[in-house]
Amino acid sequence: MRPDLEIIQNWITPKSRVLDLGCGDGSLLNYLRLKKNVNGIGLEIDADNIESCIEKGVNVIEQNIDEGLTNFQSNSFDTVLLTQTLQASSKPDLLVDEMLRIGEYGVITFPNFGNWKSRLSLASNGRMPVSKFMPHNWYDTPNIHFCTVKDFDALCMEKNVTVLTRTVVDSQHQGNWAMKAWPNFLGEIAIYHITKNS
């Protein structure tokens, strides 16, 4: 069990409607289906991932998030998930708006570029960090919109989005007291539970 899934599933109400943007091979939705009996739908564009979803019995729609989500009705889902996809989307700020238009809650996870390893790599090498965790070169990376925990906090503030929970973990999805104390410096993956400001 991936610890991030464990964290996320705590926020999902049983039998609720869940939309997973960039659902990958459907692991998260399948887990939520088995554990929480959710009515889930995933969006994905990779053919192999789509077939994996279907094999698992996970509903999957071939749709590119970057081409918009206007086909989804407002308030038609309880929770909209966006795991490790924000940084690869063409308009992350509008995507957050769309998530909270479609769903009551949003769950967003992204790699924290403010992590000390990225900072150290950039500071010492003077080049865009390449690591096991962020394996791409600057020119071929799908991750075109890296941000830090502080950046995302600022975006939420600006958009008047309520952050219900903010957790950071390392690449093994483990957290500790130090990360709680210095999330933007020590956290490798940020996990946010957000909602519209009522």
Partner: protein, 399 residues
């Protein structure tokens, strides 16, 4: 002549006919007083009768979807690429039923049948049947076969429309709806093409107001023309290009990049057939006209034109889909311009609005609308994965 059938072929199949004495009230207000349905089955029905899949055919299809009719048969059923042992619709797992729809010309009661009331061909007097009427008759067939609930109802094009109607009209009788290369209703352009086809048939001198069989003839040229127009809409520009456009110029039949293949090496400077694509269309039209009934063609195009399940729900398809309780698989093909991916996405969007469970695949394929008949790996893979899952669910329910 396949004396030895491939292991993934259902082999020799025998059509069966069931007669219905019951009246079938039709959407038009008319009714059909007794009728025959011809069908084929592949695979074995399990003991709790839960593994049945219904195949709905498209405009020119019929009950013969898979296998051969005899040792001497050189052609398989129309969907043999998808139906058979180990194929997407796996006959080792499912009991597959495929029928010829009412109004058809392959054995079910239709315009070319004898009207028992008059002793003459129905001809133009055969009532106009709709997708809804077909599905009602299919439900009657299901009753006779003792199938209270289909594990899945599956169809492409006009067949996909029947699948949607099943989901809306008989929500308790269908577990999964597989709608391929279809549309929630026809576009004006689709209807326009159908009208050209109808006009070409009805304006043939041998049409005789639809009573050509009584006159001992048939509107061959009209039917041929109708099929030629239709056939163009089934293929994509790129598929036609790769089939008939290998020459580098119109004058070079041996080139391999761009152009239009000539029948002979030269232009005729007359109005005869110059290009390969022309003779191909003639051949397709000719072959079709010898095997298909013109009145049936008219009926099928009308069934297409009239299909609009939203009509009972103030034009809101999502409300129509709210009736459904099955899960949906929708698939489209990138170069299909008869029912393009956008039309399938409409179906998906209305299903989402109705909060239904749906999966959607948009498959890159060069072959246009006809793709749904072809063994395109990604299509077959997704299709098979979905139905394998359906089968696993059945086994789980039984356990």
């Amino acid at each position: 002549m396949p004396l030895q059938f491939p292991s993934d072929n259902v082999g020799i199949v025998k059509p069966q006919t069931i007669h219905f004495d019951e009246d079938l009230p039709l959407r038009s207000g008319k009714s059909l007083n007794g009728f025959d349905l011809v069908f084929e089955t592949y695979g074995e029905l399990n003991s709790d009768r839960s593994n049945a899949i219904l195949i709905c055919h498209a405009l020119s299809g019929d009950h013969h979807a898979a296998g051969y009719h005899s040792d001497a048969d050189t052609k398989t059923g129309w969907w043999d690429n998808c139906i058979g042992p180990g194929k997407a619709i796996d006959t080792d797992q499912f009991f597959v039923v495929s029928l010829n729809n009412l109004g058809g010309c392959a054995g079910s009661t239709g315009p070319a049948s004898i009207d028992p009331a008059t002793g003459k061909y129905f001809g133009p007097d055969f009532p106009v049947v709709t997708v809804r009427d077909w599905v009602n008759s299919q439900a009657m067939l299901s009753d006779r076969l003792g199938i209270t609930r289909w594990a899945a109802v599956v169809g492409g094009s006009l067949g996909g429309m029947q699948v949607m109607r099943w989901a809306i009209s008989y929500p308790d009788r269908i577990g999964h709806a597989v709608c391929i290369a279809t549309a929630p209703k026809l576009s004006a352009q689709n209807i326009a093409f159908n009208e050209v086809a109808r006009q070409s048939i009805t304006n043939d001198a041998n049409f005789y107001g639809g009573r050509y069989l009584d006159a001992g003839t048939y509107p061959k040229r009209g039917l041929m023309l109708a099929r030629m127009v239709g056939h163009i809409t089934y293929l994509s520009d790129s598929a036609m290009g790769s089939k008939f456009g290998k020459s580098t110029t119109a004058y070079d039949p041996n080139g391999d990049k761009f152009g239009r293949d000539l029948r002979s090496g030269t232009l005729s400077f007359g109005f005869d057939l110059d290009f390969q694509v022309e003779s191909y269309l003639h051949y397709q039209g000719e072959r079709f006209s010898e095997n298909f009934d013109a009145n049936t063609y008219l009926l099928m195009t009308k069934a297409l034109d009239y299909f609009d399940p939203a009509i009972d729900f103030g034009g809101d398809l999502s409300r129509a889909f709210e009736q459904a309780s099955c899960k949906f698989l929708v698939m489209s093909f990138s170069t299909d311009w008869r029912f393009p991916p956008a039309r399938s996405r409409e179906i998906v969007d209305y299903l989402l609005k109705a909060k239904k469970e749906v999966s959607y695949l948009e498959i890159e394929a060069e072959q246009g609308h006809d793709s749904f008949l072809l063994p395109i790996p990604r299509y077959i893979g997704g299709f098979k994965a979905y139905l394998t899952r359906v089968f696993e669910e059945l086994s789980k329910d039984a356990a």
